[in-house]
């Protein structure tokens, strides 16, 4: 049985003031196996974030359902950790307190919370910053804390919505390697939304391409590049071949999206 099953999930947003309804997502089905790393690649406005929000329980589908370990998703919960594109650390909490947020919610004993926080602070390389407030951190450090905060909760699946979208290119590359390293070590099931083709290939076992609005799954490309992966992988012929193929797929969709807009 797959870890996560997305079954004919569709989402239509009602029209504003009698306007026409917007179909954000046509029925989408996707099966995610345990420890899979899937990237969802699509042009902006294709509904990929909507799909991820539905899996998180932050949005409800107009049709279809999402099953996690066979249980239908109804509302957000600690079993689905999420990292957002915007910086969503709680500004009144320090790095350490942010990472412990979910643990406190579970009423875990302080001592155990401390151990877990220390472990994930080390995992994302933020030793010495435990007592800093988010505003004192760079964007990359904030997103590393957000990843640690989601992972500390030990979710069944990690959902990432363009988590590195606001970062500069160099930082983004480093963050990709960091996240991939964590995944290689901890084996988590990951659903990662991005519009960056290189990022989609580099991170994934499987790239799912979405069409322009209304979004639907257009293609699935398995990425059988070996692990552990280094940034040097991005310049290999195998990688370039995948990139060329996905670039073509995405370009068609991007053109459609521009034509609609």
């Amino acid at each position: 049985m797959s870890k996560l099953a997305i079954e004919n999930v569709a989402r239509t947003f009602p029209g504003v003031r009698g306007g026409a309804a917007t179909v954000a997502l046509q029925p989408v089905s996707l099966a995610v196996a345990d420890n899979d790393f899937i990237t969802i690649l699509g042009p902006s406005g294709c509904g990929k974030s909507t799909l991820l929000r539905i899996v998180a329980g932050l949005d409800t589908p107009t049709a279809g359902r999402v099953l996690l370990d066979g249980i239908p998703v109804k509302a957000p919960g600690a079993d689905r950790g999420m990292v957002f594109q915007s910086y969503t650390l709680f500004p009144w909490l320090t790095v350490g307190e942010n990472i412990a947020f979910g643990l406190r919610e579970k009423r875990m004993p302080e001592a155990r919370q401390k151990d877990i926080v220390a472990r994930y602070v080390a995992r994302v390389g933020l030793e010495g910053f435990e007592h800093h407030y988010p505003k004192m951190l760079s964007g990359g450090m904030q997103q590393r804390t957000a990843i640690a905060r989601a992972l500390a909760n030990d979710p069944k699946i990690l959902l990432l919505d363009e988590p590195f979208g606001a970062l500069d290119n160099q930082t983004r590359g480093l963050m990709q390697e960091l996240l991939l390293g964590i995944w290689e070590a901890e084996t988590k099931t990951v659903l990662f939304v991005t519009h960056d083709i290189e990022e989609a290939i580099f991170m994934a076992n499987r790239v799912v391409v979405m069409s322009a609005r209304p979004g639907r799954l257009k293609a699935e490309v398995a990425v059988s590049l070996p692990h552990p992966r280094h940034y040097t992988l991005k310049t290999t012929p195998d990688f370039s071949a995948l990139k060329a193929r996905l670039t073509e797929e995405i370009r068609v969709e991007a053109l459609k999206a521009v034509a609609v807009a």
């Binding site: 329980g57 957000p76 950790g81 999420m82 957002f84 947020f101 979910g102 919610e105 407030y133 989601a150």
Partner: protein, 257 residues
């Protein structure tokens, strides 16, 4: 001068002081120079002398104490009820829908216009004074707190939900802490307004307080005392403002840019 360009701390203080100096200088020229009749406006020196007399001869400290007590008392009572109600309204939309229209309406009812009614209901004692402050502050605090809480960043709320927080967890651990600095700022503002209400309350039917002293001085045409009283109110307001700002910076270091 360049738009929005900051200036050094020293220059900032010097410029701030310079205006006070210019103001007092203009006042001195107008009064001591004989351009304005002493009957209408006392000169700064007379004002200071009258102020001194107020303290040593007329027990003005007691008046100040009474007024401060009234402001703080009415304001604290209003805050104790208004802040929780505002938080509930900001967090839960049905509660907001229930109270908001009435509170918005009540906010425009002038507190000073209630004084005759309040005298009828509560007499001219302390209860009436506290009620004026309460009415003047309560509705403002409720609305501003509700707005602050309602404007909490949605992405932070969503992040809390994905971390396993339930509704009460979101209120306690996201809405409250994220709104705290702005709520404190609201209280600072409204306390300033409460100062204007207390004086109005003391102008009518009071036997003590700064406002009462001002009415008495008016009967005696003692403009020096009136001006001194007004300045004392300003100074106390400034002190409480500084205290609030200082406390906010201590309490919410994360909120300072």
């Amino acid at each position: 001068m360049t738009p929005l360009k900051p200036i050094s701390r020293g220059r900032r203080v010097a410029l701030g002081v310079a205006f006070f100096v210019a103001f007092v200088a203009a006042w001195s020229v107008a009064t001591l120079g004989g351009f304005v009749s002493k009957l209408f406006l006392a000169d700064p020196l007379t004002m200071l002398h009258e102020g001194w007399l107020l303290f040593v001869k007329y027990g003005f400290l007691k008046d100040i104490g009474v007024t401060v007590w009234r402001v703080v008392g009415g304001f604290v009572l209003a805050s104790i009820v208004a802040v929780p109600l505002g938080i509930a309204m900001g967090a839960y939309k049905p509660i907001e829908a229930f109270f908001e229209p009435f509170v918005s309406f009540a906010r425009y009812l002038p507190a000073s216009a209630f004084i005759p009614l309040l005298i009828l209901w509560a007499g001219i004692g302390e209860t009436q004074k506290l009620l004026v402050i309460f009415i003047g502050s309560f509705f403002q605090i409720v609305l501003m707190v509700a707005m602050t809480v309602g404007a909490t960043r949605r992405d932070l709320v969503e992040a809390a939900y994905t971390l396993g927080a339930d509704a009460s967890g979101v209120v306690r651990r996201v809405l409250l802490p994220s709104s705290s600095p702005a709520i404190a700022e609201t209280l600072r503002l409204v306390l300033g307004w409460a100062w204007t209400y207390v004086i109005v309350a003391e102008l009518i039917g009071a036997s003590s307080g700064i406002g009462h002293m001002i009415t008495d001085s008016q009967a005696l045409l003692n403009t020096g005392q009136i001006i001194f009283g007004i300045i004392v109110i300003g100074v106390i307001g400034l002190i409480s403002d500084f205290a609030f700002k200082w406390a906010n910076q201590r309490l919410y270091p994360w909120a300072i840019n």
